[in-house]
């Protein structure tokens, strides 16, 4: 009886372990980790606020310094958003500045939005920066934020309002 009983216990333990193991496998295989929106939303808000409120003279990026040294940026009191808007105005009026917009946005974004997240920045409807890890359509979480951009060009002309739209997806 003892020998037979011991077999039953062993078999029972194996069956139990299998049940738990299979249950855990099934749970973890089907459990979908949906990303939380709060951190991404916070990053997005902080990013757009940073663009709208940080002046060129306060931003220490290497590429930005290069643009200043080459006199492509002349007003250091421009906010980053105003500077992008100014570049957009020049681009619309025949002076090719899209490269400046893309590189400047890239420099700002690199230090702000983690590389795990994809980013798309549109200004006045034009894509000025796109960093995509996976297609937006396949993402479970797509967040977007809009700000209004404008820039006084001279005594009698203001460019804008135009929309700055930042989309982040995971």
């Amino acid at each position: 009886m003892n020998k037979r009983g011991a077999y039953f216990f062993v078999i029972d333990a194996l069956i139990a372990a299998s049940i738990i193991f299979l249950t855990l496998i099934i749970i973890f295989a089907t459990h979908n980790l949906s990303p939380q929106d709060s951190p991404t939303l916070r990053i997005l808000d902080e990013y757009t606020e940073f663009l709208a409120s940080t002046k060129i003279r306060e931003y220490p990026g290497n590429y930005t310094r290069q643009l200043i040294d080459n006199h492509n940026i002349t007003d250091l009191d421009n906010t980053l958003l105003e500077q992008l808007t100014e570049f957009h105005y020049y681009n619309q009026t025949g002076k090719p500045t899209k490269r400046f917009m893309t590189n400047l946005t890239s420099e700002i974004t690199r230090g702000f939005i983690p590389t795990q997240r994809s980013v798309l920045v549109r200004l006045g409807g034009d894509i000025i920066y796109n960093r995509s890890n996976k297609p937006m359509q396949e993402s479970d979480l797509v967040l977007s934020s809009k700000r209004t951009g404008y820039k006084r060009i001279n005594q009698t002309y203001i460019y804008g309002p135009i929309s700055l739209e930042v989309t982040v997806w995971v």
Binding site: I11, I15, P161
Partner: protein, 322 residues
Amino acid sequence: MGVRILDSKKAVVFTLMAIVISLFFTLMFSARIQKPLDHETRVVKSRIAVLNKYMETFFDYAEITGSISAYSALRGIITDIDNTNQSNPEFNTQYLSCIRTGNLTSAKECPCMENQTLIYYLDKMVNFSREQLNINSEYIINPLSHTQKTSAFTIEVLINLTLKINDAYANITDTRIVTSSTDINGLKDPLYLLNGTYDQLINQTPLKRKEGDWKPSDLTRLYNKHEYRAYKGGISFINRIKANNTASPMGIESFVNHTHPTISYTANHSMTDYQFWLNQTQRCSEDIVEINESIISPPGFQIDDTHRLSFGISSKNVTLTC
């Protein structure tokens, strides 16, 4: 028989325990994540934050576009003076009307104000916010006013503005007085337009001097570069428009080019613009002197004694004109 049953019961204990634990895990992980109770509040807060940002943007935009409208309106009024060769004693009301609607009076348009009025710009922002940001808003321009308190070369327009935002989450209304400053540099000087024989643009000197600190070399620069300085005994830009020829704390002055082919003068004339063009002569034997060529060349430049002293020009460097 009894022992067998007992053994078989003991033998399924682990299986039963495993089933219970599995059920527990399954229930725990398959439970739906409840949204926090303040979820709705967070959405509302987030929307209100967006609306607040829009409100700040609107008033900032109003300040900048107010400045553009104010500058364009000044240019329009100067153009009108140029066209009609008449001063504008109704400047105070016509200027504000020009900023707001682009009309000097109900029957007369303000020149150069197409797509430059305050209403044009604010409409543009309201339409933009509706189409791009899905924010419905309307604004009311309450009475405008203008003043000149900070600089002789700046006019401030005070725009009393109300913005109403109508949204599904919140209705927000705010009234603020926005101060838009406009620079008069680059505009034609109405004094020259109305009284002179040639036109001159307002061009503020970059020299920063207090009363009493002006040097003879500064006069040379002002004269050669046709620059203006703030001078309390001078006529302000607004008074020049109105042809109100009284001295003002916001007075400005420049010096007439005495070599200009259209210029003629007597020994009683000072080349200070308002004195010259308004023909305010003084006694040549006492009050008017000619500045030596070492300071202003070619010779013949005359100035009154008050100005000579204000530039610290020694009596050795001048000669009486008669």
